[in-house]
C-alpha cells in the first residue's frame, strides 16, 4: 500500500508554510529540562482526574444559562434607543448655547453658531455630525457605549468609559481641533494610519484635511519637583513616545521650529563654557562619559582636551524630531495599475515626470505618484529628480501589496536626487583654535569677513600627511591585507549653518563629530551652494524583489540610491534578493530618515551582501531590519556625521556591522545582531581592519549604546575615540567602554532629542 500522501496542492501550500512557522516557533520554547515524573506531580494529575469538578462546572453552567434565559425573557430586545432633547439656554457666561441632553446622561454643548446634526441614535449611543463650529461633549460612562462624531472627512469614535472633549471644526479651512480631557477616542481620517489615531486623555489633535497636516500633542503642567524626579526615572527607563504622531509638511527645509521645554537648555549653555563636569554637582562614581543627573537631564564628561559625546539628535528629517509628512494624492488622480507589456518602467517614469512638472504647493510638495496593488515589472531604472515628489505604493505586505519586480541586468532600481556635489565659494576661513574638540559648536576663525548668521558653510578637516602618519594609514599594511595607504586630501566635510557670530568666533547649529587639530593641518570654513540638491522627496509603502539576470554582476543590485537630497524619507519599504542593499544614502544626502524597512538577503547570502548603507550626514536609520545579510549596515569612508542607527535588528548566522574608513560620529543606538534563534551573534567592529579589503581604521568618535551582538571589537583610534555604553555580548579592544554604574537612558538619541526639543518630539519616532 502506498503510504505517501499526494503532493501538496497549491491550496495546501499556505498551510504547510504556517505549519513550518509553528514548528519553528514552538521549537524555540520547548523545555530543555523537562520536569521528571514525580509523586507530587502524579498526585496533582490524579487529583485532576477526580470527577467533582465536572458536575460543579455543569451545574454552574446550567444555572448561568437559566439566569441568562430569565434576563432575556424580561428584556427580550435589549435597552431601548436613546432619547434626547435639544435645548437652547444661556451659558454661565451669558452666551446663548445649544445643549443636547441624552437619556444615558451624556450632554453635548455647542455655541449658537455651531451647525450640529444628530445623524442617528441607537441603543448604545448617537452619531453626530459637526458641520461648522465648536462643541463640548460629555459622554457618560456606560458599558459598550457607541458615540461617534463626524467632522468633514474625520470620524471619531468615543470610548464608552466616560469621555469629555472639546471639538472645533472649520469647514472652510478643513481644520479640526480636538482636546480630550478624559477618556479616549479613535479618529479616522486622511492619515497615513489606516487604523486611525487613538487619542488619550490630556492629548490634543490638530489636523488639516487640505494638506494632510496633523499632530497630536500633550498639554503639560508646569514641571514640579515630582515631575523632575519622574522625568529622571523616565529617561533612565527611556520609554519611547507611546503614541504615534505625524506632522504635516512644513513650508521650508529649515529645521522645524519646535519649542523646547527648556528644562535642560540653560544647563546645556553653561556646560559649553568648558567646565570639565557638566552635571549639577552630582557626578556619579566610576568616571562615566554620560549619565542622567538628578533633574533628569543628561550630563556629559569631557576629557582633558574637551572632547565629549556629541549631540546626535539632529539626525533625521528636518533635523530630527519632526514626523514624516503624509502627502495626500490629488483626488482627480488614480493609482497606476501594472501593465501587460512586461515592462512598467516607462509608465511609472512618465507618471513621475508628470508630477515633477506640476508647480509646488505652499508646503513645497508637487504631488504623489501612487502605484496600485500588484506586481510591476521593471527592466530599467526609475529616476526621481525633482523636489516635492512622493512615490507611494499600497504597502509591502498582504494581498494588496505593491511589488516592484526588477529584472534584467543588476543595477540600482530607483535613483533619487542628482549625482551632484556642492560648490564651495570663495577662500576658506582658517580655524585658528589649536584644538576644537569633539562635540564643540563654537570656534574661532582668522576672520569672519563675508560670513553672516544663517550662512550655509562647510567645515573641512583635511587628511594631512602628518595625521595619516599619526594614525598609521600613510603606509601600506601587510601586502595581502591593505595594499594601499590612505591618501592626503580634503578629508571630512561637515555641512553646517552659522547660528551666531561673535567677533572672530562662530557658532554652528550642529556639533562637530571630529576634532579640528591645528597640528595636523589647517581646517577651514567656507560658504557653499548646492543648487542641484532636491528636497522633500519620499519613497514609501512598497516592496521590491530583484530577479536580476544571473549573468550580470549581482553585486550591483541595489533598490534605492539617495544622492543630492535634503529632507527626504524612505519608509515602509521591503526588499528581497538584492545583494547590495535596500538603500544607500550617498555622501551629498542630508537629513534623510529611513524608517520601518526590511531587507531580506538572497539565499544563499553572498559574503558581501549588505542591507543598508548609511553615508551623508545627519541621516537617521530607524527600525530597520536586515534578514540574512552578511553586513547589516555599511558606511562610506570619510562619512562626516553625525548619523544615527536606532533600533536596528540584524538577523543572520553571523551578521556584521562594520563602518568604513574613518566614519565619524556614528551612533549605534539599541542595535541588535542576532542569529535566527534570537541569540546574540555576529560582530560590531570599530577598529583598524587589516582583513581581506584592509580598509584601515573604521569608525571614529562613534558610539555604541545599549546594543546586543555576539562580539564588540572596539578600539580607540589615535587622535579619536569610540564609546561603548551597555554592550550585551563579548567585548574586546581598548575603546572607551563605560564601566560606571551611572544611570543612563535606554536610548541616547531619544534622550538627546527630548532634551533639545521637548518630550513631544519623541512622537516623531513612533510608528
Amino acid at each position: 500500500m502506498n503510504r505517501r500522501s499526494p503532493p501538496p496542492t497549491e491550496g495546501e501550500q499556505p498551510h504547510f508554510l504556517l505549519g513550518s512557522v509553528v514548528r519553528n516557533g514552538f521549537s524555540a520554547q520547548r523545555s530543555s529540562n523537562p520536569v521528571p515524573i514525580v509523586p507530587s506531580a502524579l498526585r496533582t494529575a490524579l487529583q485532576r482526574r477526580h470527577g467533582w469538578r465536572r458536575p460543579v462546572l455543569v451545574a454552574t453552567g446550567l444555572a448561568a444559562m437559566a439566569a441568562g434565559a430569565v434576563v432575556l425573557i424580561k428584556i427580550p430586545f435589549g435597552p431601548p434607543a436613546l432619547k434626547y432633547v435639544v435645548e437652547k439656554a444661556p451659558s454661565p457666561t451669558g452666551v446663548l448655547e445649544k445643549r443636547l441632553r441624552s437619556s444615558d446622561g451624556s450632554t453635548v454643548t455647542a455655541g449658537a453658531a455651531t451647525r450640529l446634526r444628530v445623524m442617528s441614535a441607537g441603543r448604545r449611543g448617537a452619531h453626530l455630525r459637526v458641520e461648522e463650529g465648536a462643541l463640548h461633549a460629555h459622554i457618560a460612562a456606560r458599558p459598550r457605549a457607541e458615540w461617534s462624531v463626524e467632522a468633514g472627512p474625520y470620524k471619531m469614535a468615543l470610548a464608552g468609559s466616560g469621555t469629555d472633549l472639546d471639538l472645533t471644526w472649520s469647514a472652510g479651512q478643513t481644520s479640526l481641533s480636538v482636546v480630550l480631557q478624559s477618556g479616549s477616542a479613535t479618529v479616522q481620517g486622511p492619515f497615513a494610519h489606516r487604523e486611525g489615531l487613538r487619542i488619550k486623555a490630556g492629548e490634543t489633535l490638530v489636523a488639516r484635511a487640505s494638506d494632510g497636516f496633523w499632530r497630536v500633542g500633550r498639554s503639560r503642567p508646569e514641571p514640579g519637583e515630582g515631575e523632575l524626579q519622574a522625568r529622571s526615572e523616565a529617561l533612565a527607563l527611556a520609554a519611547p513616545a507611546a503614541f504615534p504622531s505625524r506632522l504635516g509638511p512644513g513650508p521650508s527645509d529649515s529645521p522645524a521650529a519646535v519649542v523646547a521645554d527648556g528644562r535642560c537648555r540653560g544647563r546645556e549653555a553653561s556646560r559649553s563654557l568648558g567646565t570639565q563636569l557638566m552635571g549639577v554637582g552630582e557626578e556619579p562614581g566610576g568616571d562615566p562619559w554620560a549619565w542622567v543627573d538628578r533633574s533628569g537631564c543628561l550630563g556629559y564628561h569631557r576629557d582633558p582636551q574637551g572632547n565629549r559625546l556629541p549631540d546626535f539628535s539632529h539626525a533625521g528629517y528636518r533635523s530630527g524630531g519632526v514626523p514624516l509628512p503624509f502627502v495626500p494624492r490629488a483626488p482627480s488622480t488614480r493609482p497606476i495599475a501594472p501593465g501587460n507589456s512586461g515592462d512598467d518602467t516607462a509608465a511609472i517614469q512618465a507618471a513621475i515626470d508628470a508630477v515633477s512638472a506640476r508647480p509646488a504647493d505652499a508646503s513645497g510638495f508637487r504631488g504623489v505618484v501612487e502605484l496600485g496593488s500588484g506586481t510591476f515589472t521593471l527592466r530599467g531604472s526609475l529616476r526621481l529628480m525633482q523636489s516635492g515628489v512622493v512615490l507611494r505604493g499600497q504597502g509591502g505586505d498582504g494581498g494588496g501589496a505593491t511589488i516592484l519586480r526588477a529584472v534584467g541586468g543588476a543595477r540600482t532600481v530607483l535613483l533619487v536626487g542628482p549625482d551632484d556635489v556642492r560648490t564651495v565659494s570663495g577662500q576658506g576661513h582658517r580655524v585658528v583654535d589649536a584644538y576644537v574638540p569633539v562635540g564643540a559648536r563654537s570656534f574661532e576663525l582668522d576672520s569672519t569677513e563675508g560670513l553672516r548668521v544663517d550662512d550655509e558653510i562647510v567645515v573641512q578637516r583635511p587628511f594631512s600627511q602628518r595625521w595619516l602618519s599619526q594614525i598609521g594609514m600613510d603606509r601600506p599594511g601587510r601586502p595581502e591585507a591593505r595594499p594601499v595607504s590612505w591618501r592626503v586630501g580634503a578629508g571630512l566635510t561637515f555641512e553646517r549653518r552659522i547660528t551666531a557670530i561673535d567677533g572672530k568666533r562662530i557658532t554652528i547649529d550642529v556639533p562637530l563629530v571630529n576634532a579640528l587639530e591645528r597640528e595636523y593641518g589647517d581646517s577651514t570654513v567656507s560658504k557653499f551652494s548646492f543648487p542641484q540638491r532636491i528636497a522633500r522627496v519620499g519613497v514609501e509603502r512598497l516592496a521590491s524583489r530583484a530577479d536580476f539576470d544571473p549573468r550580470s554582476d549581482l553585486g550591483d543590485g541595489m533598490f534605492v540610491e539617495v544622492n543630492a537630497v535634503m529632507n527626504g524619507w524612505i519608509r515602509e519599504v521591503k526588499t528581497e534578493n538584492y545583494e547590495s542593499g535596500l538603500v544607500s544614502l550617498e555622501e551629498p544626502s542630508k537629513w534623510i530618515t529611513v524608517e520601518d524597512v526590511v531587507y531580506t538577503a538572497p539565499q544563499p547570502s553572498p559574503p558581501w551582501s549588505r542591507a543598508f548603507v548609511l553615508g551623508g550626514q545627519q541621516n537617521l536609520l530607524l527600525r530597520a531590519r536586515s534578514v540574512g545579510a552578511r553586513h547589516a549596515l555599511g558606511t562610506f569612508g570619510r562619512t562626516a556625521g553625525p548619523n544615527v542607527v536606532l533600533d536596528l535588528t540584524g538577523v543572520g548566522r553571523s551578521p556584521m556591522l562594520t563602518p568604513a574608513r574613518w566614519t565619524a560620529g556614528l551612533l549605534l543606538d539599541n542595535v541588535r545582531l542576532v542569529d535566527p534563534a534570537g541569540e546574540p551573534a555576529g560582530e560590531v567592529i570599530m577598529r583598524v581592519r587589516e582583513g581581506s579589503k584592509g580598509s584601515g581604521w573604521s569608525a571614529a568618535n562613534s558610539v555604541v549604546w545599549n546594543s546586543e551582538a555576539g562580539r564588540f571589537s572596539v578600539d580607540n583610534p589615535p587622535t579619536a575615540q569610540n564609546w561603548v555604553f551597555g554592550a550585551a555580548g563579548e567585548t574586546v579592544g581598548n575603546g572607551s567602554y563605560d564601566a560606571s554604574n551611572a544611570p543612563r537612558p535606554e536610548s541616547l538619541y531619544r534622550a538627546q532629542l527630548a532634551e533639545r526639543l521637548g518630550d513631544s518630539s519623541l512622537a516623531a519616532l513612533s510608528r
Partner: protein
C-alpha cells in the same frame, strides 16, 4: 536502532520493569509535549497534561498489541488527551466569567514577534474548527504526518482523511484570507514565502 530500542522498551514496560517507566519518560517526553503543544496552540501549562498522558500510557501499555507500535501508541494517547483538553477549554471558555479564570495563558515571549503573531492568529482560526477537523489539520500541516498515518492514528479511513483535508484546506484558506495577519500567507506571495521558509530552514 531506535525502533529496536522501542520494541525492547515496550516489552520491558509490559513486563512491568521499574526502570522502564523512567526510560519511557525520557524518550517520549519531548514527543508528548510537542504533540500537545501543537494540538493546543500557544498558552497554558503543559506539565500537568504531559503527566496525565504518561499516567494513561503506563496504565494502558499492557494492552499494547504490537510492541513495534509503541511510539504511535504514545502519540495516540497524547492526541486523545489533547482532544479532551480542547473540549474542556471550550466549555471553560463559556463559563470563564463565572469561574473567574482565563482560558489562554500568555503566549511565549521566546519567539520573535512576527512568528508569535502568526501562531496566535493561526490557532485563533483553527479554534473555530470542530475537534476532529482541528486534529486532522494539525496532524497533516503542523505535524507533517502522511494521510495514511493520520488514518491510523485516528481510526478513520484514508479516504475520509483526504476528503476532510480537501474541505479543510479551502475552509481555512477562506478564514485566513480574512485575517489581517494570515492573509499574507494566502496572497500571491505565499509561494515565494514558502520557498523562502524552506531555504531558511535548510540554512539552520
Amino acid at each position: 536502532l531506535s525502533a529496536d530500542d522501542d520494541v525492547f522498551l515496550a516489552r520491558s514496560l509490559i513486563e512491568g520493569r521499574s526502570e522502564a517507566a523512567l526510560s519511557a519518560w525520557r524518550r517520549f517526553h519531548p514527543l508528548v509535549e510537542t504533540t500537545l503543544r501543537r494540538m493546543l496552540g500557544p498558552g497554558g501549562d503543559l506539565q500537568d497534561l504531559t503527566q496525565e498522558v504518561f499516567l494513561r500510557f503506563f496504565s494502558k501499555v499492557g494492552e499494547l498489541k504490537k510492541v513495534e507500535s509503541l511510539r504511535p501508541f504514545v502519540m495516540a494517547i497524547a492526541i486523545r488527551r489533547a482532544q479532551e483538553e480542547i473540549k474542556r477549554r471550550r466549555v471553560r471558555r463559556w463559563f470563564a466569567p463565572l469561574l473567574g479564570d482565563t482560558i489562554m495563558g500568555n503566549t511565549t515571549t521566546e519567539m520573535d514577534p512576527e512568528t508569535r503573531e502568526a501562531i496566535v492568529h493561526l490557532y485563533r482560526v483553527i479554534d473555530r474548527l470542530n475537534v476532529m477537523d482541528r486534529t486532522i489539520y494539525v496532524l497533516r500541516y503542523i505535524e507533517g504526518l502522511e494521510q495514511a498515518q493520520i488514518s491510523d492514528a485516528l481510526g478513520v479511513s484514508v479516504s475520509t482523511v483526504r476528503r476532510r483535508l480537501d474541505r479543510l484546506a479551502k475552509r481555512v484558506n477562506h478564514m485566513m484570507s480574512r485575517d489581517p495577519v494570515l492573509a499574507e500567507y494566502v496572497g500571491p506571495r505565499a509561494a515565494s514565502s514558502l520557498a523562502r521558509a524552506e531555504r531558511g530552514r535548510s540554512d539552520r
